[in-house]
Amino acid sequence: MVEQKLSAQNAVVAAPAEPESRERDSIDHDASLRGFARRRHRELAVAAVAAVAVALLPLAIHDVYLQNILVLTLMYAALSQSWNILGGYCGQISLGHAIYFGIGAYMSTLLYTHAGLTPWFGMVIGGGVAALIALTLGYPFFRLRGHYFTIATIVVAETGLLLVLNWDFAGGAQGIQIPYGPDSWAHLQFARDKLPYIYFALGFAVLTFIVTFAIEDSKWGYWWRAVKDNAEAAESLGVVVFRSKMAAAALSAFFTAIGGSFYAAFVSYIDPDSVMGFQFSLLIALPAVLGGIGTLWGPALGALVLIPLTELTRSSFGGSGNGLDLIIYGVLIMVISLARPEGLTSLFARRRGARAGLEARAKQ
C-alpha cells in the first residue's frame, strides 16, 4: 500500500504538467552517464575486495575439509554464473547443463590420458565442443518456449548420460582414473595440496564474474534481457531473438565445460554418474536461482550459502542414513525461497527502486 502511494506521488512529480515544461524536465546527460559509470566501478571494486579476501582465506583455513568446501563453493559460483548467462539474463531455463559439465570433464580427461595433452588445452577444447553442441541443440530447441525448452534440456542431458555410460572408449560405467603424477600446474595435478585448486577455482569465479559484468552493459546483455522480458517487443526493436538465444547458450556452455574440466582434475576420477548426473544440472542452476536470477551477484551469493550448507549438513547429519541432512537442506532452501523469493541479492538492494526491479524479475 505504502509503496503504491509512493509511486503514485512520484508519478505526479515526474509527469510534465504542460508540454512546455518538457525542456525543464530534461536532466544532465553527462551527470547521468557519470553516475552510471560510478555505479559500475563501485561494483568492480566490491568484487575486487571480495576476491582478495577469498584469496587470503587459506591463510586462516588450514583444515583440508574446509578448504575442499571453499574449492567447491568457488566452482559452483562460477558454474552458476555461467548458467546465469543463459538462464538468468536470456531467460532460457536449462536443467540440462550437466551435459556441458560432463563434456568438459570427459574431453580434458580423455585428451590427457590418451594423448597426454595438458588439461589447460583440454578445457579449451572441451569448452569449444560444448559450445558447438549447445548451438546444435539450440537450433531445434530454441523454437520451444518456456517449460517445453526446460523439459528438452533435461531429456538431452539424460540421453547424454546414457551415451557415455555405454561408451567403452571413455571407460563406460567404470569411468576414468587420472594417473597419479608429481604435483604440477601444467597437469593440474596436486596430490595433497588444495591451495592450487582454491586459486584456480577463484580465478574461474573471477573470470565468469568479469565476463558477466562486461555483458551487463553490452549489446548482448541488453538484448538478452529484452528477449527474456518480452520476445515480441524485442523483435520489434531489431533484436534477432533466435540468434540472441544461440549466443547466450554457446557462451554459457563454454564456461560450464571449463568447470567440468577443472572438476575432473580436482577429483582425479570421473564416471558418468559423478559428472553428468541430473543433480549437477540442479546444483549448477540452484545458486543463481536462490541468490538472484539474472543478477551479477546472485550466483556467488547463492553458492556461498548453498554449497557450505550442503557439505556441512551432509557431514553433520548424513551418516545416519535416515536422510536427515537432506531434510534440513531442503527446509533451509524452502525458508530462503519463501523469505526472499527475488533472491538473496535483494537483501543488499537498499534502494527501493532496485528492489522493485528485482521483485519484477522474480515474478517472471
Binding site: 509511486s7 503514485a8 512520484n10 508519478a11 512529480v13 515526474a14 509527469a15 510534465p16 508540454p19 518538457r22 524536465d25 530534461s26 536532466i27 546527460h29 547521468s32 552517464l33 552510471f36 552493459d217 553490452s218 549489446k219 546483455g221 541488453y222 538484448w223 534481457r225 529484452a226 527474456k228 522480458d229 518480452n230 515480441e232 517487443a233 524485442a234 523483435e235 520489434s236 526493436l237 531489431g238 533484436v239 534477432v240 531473438v241 539474472g294 527502486g353 532496485a354 522493485a356 526491479g357 521483485e359 519484477a360 524479475r361 517472471q364
Partner: protein
C-alpha cells in the same frame, strides 16, 4: 512523382477460416500522419501487424521505401526503418526505463555507451527523463505508453506505427500524447496510428483510412471521411450524424 514511403498492395490475411484483411491496398506518404480507423474487428491490428512483420500476409505485397518487405521478419524491418508500439504495453519489466530505451538505441549503435546517450536524448523528447533510472515496472500506464514510444523512436525509424497509443488515457494525458505525436512528426518521422478515440485522432491526422470487415471502406482527409455515408453507417453511428 515522389515515391510512397509505404505501399500495401492487395494484401489478404486469413486466420483459418477468418479473413481478417481482404484485398487491402493503401499508401503512406513520407511525412504524413495517417489514421487507421474502424470498428472493433475491422482488421486494423492485423494490417498493422502485417506491416510491422509479426506475420506474413496470405497474399499480396508490402513495399517500404521502394523495397519489397513482404517476407521480411520484424527485426529486419526495424533495421530498414519501421518501428512500432503495442496495443497492450510490453515494457521490459526487469530493466530500468533507460535500459528499455537502450535496447532500441542499439539498433543503430554498436556501443552501449553511445546507446545510453541516445536513450537519454529520446527520454528528454518523450518527457521521461526524470524516470530514467526507475524500474519500468513502476511506471504508471500513461508513462508506459510513452516508454513504448521512446523505445521505438530510439531505433530511429522512418515510419512509426502507433497501435492505440492514446487509448485509456485521461483527456489531459491524451492531449499530451497528441503533442508528442506532432513533435515526432516535426522531426521527420512518418506516422501511422491505429486509434479508437475519434475525437483525438481526427484533428491530428492528415489522412484517414477506414477499415470495416477487413476491407478498405473509405479513405481521405478527416473531414471527407467523417462525411462519408458508408463510414457513418458502418462505424461512426448516430452520434456523428447528429453532429
Amino acid at each position: 512523382m515522389s515515391a510512397h514511403l509505404l505501399e500495401v498492395r492487395h494484401v489478404t490475411r486469413r486466420f483459418g477460416g477468418l479473413v481478417a484483411n481482404s484485398d487491402v491496398s493503401l499508401v503512406v506518404e513520407e511525412g504524413e500522419i495517417l489514421g487507421l480507423i474502424g470498428p472493433n474487428g475491422a482488421g486494423k491490428s492485423t494490417l498493422f501487424n502485417l506491416v510491422a512483420g509479426l506475420y506474413p500476409p496470405t497474399s499480396g505485397n508490402i513495399v517500404f521505401a521502394g523495397e519489397e518487405i513482404t517476407r521480411l521478419a520484424a527485426p529486419a524491418r526495424c533495421a530498414r526503418g519501421i518501428a512500432r508500439t503495442f496495443q497492450v504495453v510490453r515494457s521490459f519489466d526487469s530493466m530500468s526505463v533507460v535500459e528499455n530505451v537502450i535496447v532500441g538505441a542499439l539498433m543503430r549503435r554498436a556501443g552501449a555507451r553511445e546507446a545510453r546517450h541516445k536513450a537519454l536524448q529520446v527520454l528528454d523528447l518523450t518527457g521521461l527523463s526524470r524516470r530514467a533510472e526507475a524500474p519500468a515496472v513502476e511506471l504508471t500506464p500513461p508513462e508506459k505508453r510513452r516508454l513504448e514510444i521512446a523505445r521505438a523512436l530510439a531505433t530511429e525509424p522512418k515510419l512509426l506505427l502507433l497501435d492505440e497509443a492514446l487509448a485509456g488515457l485521461t483527456p489531459s494525458e491524451a492531449r499530451e500524447g497528441v503533442e508528442l505525436v506532432r513533435l515526432i512528426r516535426r522531426r521527420g518521422v512518418t506516422i501511422v496510428m491505429v486509434e479508437h478515440v475519434m475525437e483525438v485522432v481526427m484533428p491530428l491526422v492528415d489522412r484517414a483510412v477506414v477499415l470495416d470487415l477487413g476491407k478498405v471502406l473509405a479513405q481521405g482527409s478527416p473531414t471527407e471521411v467523417v462525411r462519408d455515408k458508408a463510414v457513418i453507417e458502418a462505424y461512426l453511428g448516430a452520434r456523428h450524424r447528429a453532429a
